[in-house]
Subunit: 201 residues, 2 copies
Amino acid sequence: MSRSTAGPEIERLIQLLARLPGLGPRSARRAALALVKKKDQLLVPLAGAMTVAAERILTCSTCGNIDTSDPCTICSDPARDTKTIVVVEDVSDLWALERAGAIKARYHVLGGTLSPLDGVGPEDLNIESLVSRCSTGEVAEVILAVNATVDGQTTAHVITDRLTGTPVRVSRLAHGVPVGGELDYLDEGTLAAAIRARTPF
Amino acid sequence: MSRSTAGPEIERLIQLLARLPGLGPRSARRAALALVKKKDQLLVPLAGAMTVAAERILTCSTCGNIDTSDPCTICSDPARDTKTIVVVEDVSDLWALERAGAIKARYHVLGGTLSPLDGVGPEDLNIESLVSRCSTGEVAEVILAVNATVDGQTTAHVITDRLTGTPVRVSRLAHGVPVGGELDYLDEGTLAAAIRARTPF
């Protein structure tokens, strides 16, 4: 877009929107236009919500979750099982597990996966803080809820190694057929894992 | 997402982001997370850019373009041809023509297309203001740069009717093969139009 068309304010808004995941230059322009058109319904409230978020959102120093309090709501919830820590790669995975209501335990957010090609080593992830949480004797089980990707599984192995010597039991998510999934659309690896892990009916 | 996971601030940010075109609930969560993670590089600047845009962006009372001044930069640019008005459906179309550098004329933004099914009638579009701009005698030509859709063409016909009696000449964009386009991928309507409008080589 030439700068003369809509001025540097819109240009800057588009450039910043284009840096959001899922938005490219074209969709950023569409989003900027929608914002300007719906100024009172969308632009002003969103600017306000972002300002509030920037002022109030913190990273939990215990688990790495994001929240407005530190320790976060989950870490300070007395109704949760304190003996179990679910290890996730990212806050989005924590949110996914919470949406599923899968478990009422505490979490530990690694902040990524080991990826030697991208230069991400063990020191770049929150692994040491996990080891110290597991060394106090309060935690009985660590569930590795990392993605079933090569990087995720490598990370799981490294964490398991690092937790040797602590009193915790390490488990990982089951592999198998997704609920509602059709066998015809599943890859061979998943089907083989589902056969191996078959359960009595 | 349960509200207990990340608090109402994040929840509200996600809900507002999900109302942007091109973002759904899942991508809005990803965007919110990216914003919170890149607080200083992205969240704070974007909140600021939105606040500035909300305060300073206006709609040009002459042509309907958005800008920080009224009349807009294009309408007040003395270097532009004042005898020609390019009629577009939306500001995004104006931006597209400006990016292409296709013409240095003035514009008129209709604010949509006629769509009886959606309840959009001629009175909902900026047609009357176009007619009054064309009645002063200063404008010699109106180029209808509306989309080549059924609604766009209907709108073009209605505008042409309304401009009868004003001293302007009405033209429309040429149909044909897009530059760089391959015939094999084009629809029959475009190919037929390109044959009909063939030019000497």
